[in-house]
Symmetry: C2
Subunit: 335 residues, 2 copies
DNA sequence: TTGTAAGCGTTATCAG
DNA sequence: CTGATAACGCTTACAA
């Protein structure tokens, strides 16, 4: 079927030149006689020659590929990041190998092994919770890495959210509306970004001289139940902030659950600008993460490190979140 | 930094054997003397040897990689498919190169060129609207391909939704509720799946002896406006079906827009089981696409074709959609 | 059973 | 300015 494709040698023969001359012509080498270049280009066109990147990679020791390992692919936060990464990588002429670890350290190890054997030039990684940084460092085996959304170890580039500030901002906003009791809901509280956001929430509450109430669960089904329970247990609880898109979903459901049992207004601020934020009533005020910047910066940083001559200083991109004020926080403003 | 990694030769030398023996040992070759195998494994462990997949690919002419080209990555339908594809590919020991064409034929051409030069073994493709099948066939240059969600040409494997049946089912359901005037909303009506779904909707309306009303637009902002306009223009219009997750979003907004202007109940059935379906009031009845099956089947089909001995007959997987009945269609049932 | 050698398609090096 | 040649790391004949 696919009769083996033409090689530089075929082109060289047809053009009546040596293989290395063809190679130079392709790579835009220094000075070729115009006439020769002409012949080569004609031969390339005639044969439909296209360079074999695999051979190039073997020869050059570089694959022009970056490995991307995320916890999940369909989660809106990550899928938006991936979208940006793919676009930015394509724009710069790089190729993306996409893998996921499902929050499992074991699966992460396997995926890093795949990347090692594939000899990708660099990695963008959102490490699984419980990762041992030293272990990951070994598993990377010298491949440059950019940590995205969660830290790896000081010594590698990071692209992260200002998590504490983000959660503080949301909490402050609710406090500004006069809410005294504010709960904070998340699943998987061991995940770094949630740890940080919890800290931010607590800091804001403490500064206001108020106690905190955490609503935690192992997964999002349970989080919905736990949030409902918390609301029923504390009738004076009138405000909740959630720490992720999934948690926002669960909290909205919980508030609705409780509402169905009797009138009860509960203010909330969500995390991530999920699409349903403007659809529910009232529209949800959310902390928006700059997903485009996450993807763009991660690729930019990694490519810079991969193409740099001299060692670039360590880069820590700390991205600011933005409060998108709608109605659920108690603001009069309506989308 | 990364002092060049050990090769088979290093392992061979350390184990005091030939390179091919190491290779055989790795590939689970036939009969090795246990003692030799022992020595090799020890050497591998000691050196931390890992096979270079690039060299393997060059030598073997196969990359163990599948190229995946989708219109978008962050659209929930596609991101769910991608998730499945990645998982299924990983499970089977394949690797995924992810690319997007943004519904642009030109961009699609570029991405297929990337796949050709990368020598991926096969491709999963959702072609951009306006693709010339013959052109795509040439651009694939003999690489096996599975068309996902949209057709390529008879002669390649397909994984598609039973689009007509899906839209008919939704329309029928609305008709069953007694709605006579039912509109059908979608952006980009030139995209294959939407063409088919429109046909299904029309067939159901025609069978009921009713006229159809299409609400079309170039993008989803305009679709929201167009749907609102349609509702205002025809006060007797009380039901709408939408043909995609994005259209569902736009229609929900439009209905809400109109509702705000005065009491008006509009029934609807959405497409794709978007997360906001259960959050809005009333919960949205939707046509659910089996995204797991899309991803799973696409990989299964492609891998089968890539590893087959004899030519497998053409496969056309036509997946059935499922009507997830909630409340927005007029059913009493509440989630 | 095991080792030797050729070659996958490129490109860097080094003569001409 | 251009052409032969030698790797890159692996596997598959073919010998031994």
């Amino acid at each position: 079927m696919r009769s083996s494709r033409p090689t530089v040698l075929d082109v060289a023969r047809l053009a009546g030149v040596g293989a290395s001359t063809v190679s130079r012509c392709l790579r835009g080498g220094p000075h070729l006689r115009p006439e020769v270049q002409e012949r080569i280009l004609r031969a390339i066109a005639e044969l439909g020659y296209e360079p074999n990147e695999v051979a190039r990679s073997l020869r050059g020791g570089r694959t022009n590929t970056i490995g991307v390992v995320f916890p999940h692919i369909a989660n809106t936060f990550f899928s938006l990041c991936i979208q940006q990464i793919e676009q930015e990588a394509t724009r710069r002429g790089w190729t993306v190998m996409l893998l996921s670890h499902q929050e499992s350290v074991a699966q992460q190890s396997k995926q890093l092994a795949v990347l090692r054997r594939s000899r990708v030039d660099g990695v963008i990684l959102t490490p699984a919770p419980g990762s041992d940084p030293e272990q990951v460092r070994k598993e990377l085996h010298g491949m440059p890495v950019v940590a995205l959304d969660r830290p790896l170890w000081t010594g590698v580039d990071h692209v992260m959210l200002r998590n504490r500030e983000a959660a503080e901002m949301a909490t402050q906003h609710l406090l500004g509306h006069g809410y005294g009791e504010i709960a904070c809901a998340t699943a998987s509280p061991e995940i770094y970004s949630f740890v940080e956001r919890i800290a931010g929430y607590r800091a804001a509450m403490a500064r206001a001289g108020l106690g905190d109430e955490l609503i935690l669960a192992e997964d999002y089904t349970r989080l919905r139940a736990a949030a409902g329970e918390a609301l029923r247990r504390r009738p004076t609880l009138r405000a909740i902030i959630s720490l992720s898109n999934m948690a926002t979903f669960a909290v909205v459901q919980a508030i609705r659950d409780v509402k169905h049992e009797g009138e009860r207004e509960v203010a909330m601020i969500g995390f991530d600008d999920v699409d349903f934020a403007t659809l529910v009533e009232p529209a949800i005020t959310v902390v928006r993460q700059p997903t485009e910047a996450f993807g763009h910066e991660a690729v930019a940083l990694l490519v810079q490190r991969l193409t740099e001559e001299a060692a670039t200083p360590l880069q820590q991109r700390l991205l600011a979140a933005e409060l998108v004020v709608r109605a659920s926080c108690g603001c009069a403003y309506r989308d």
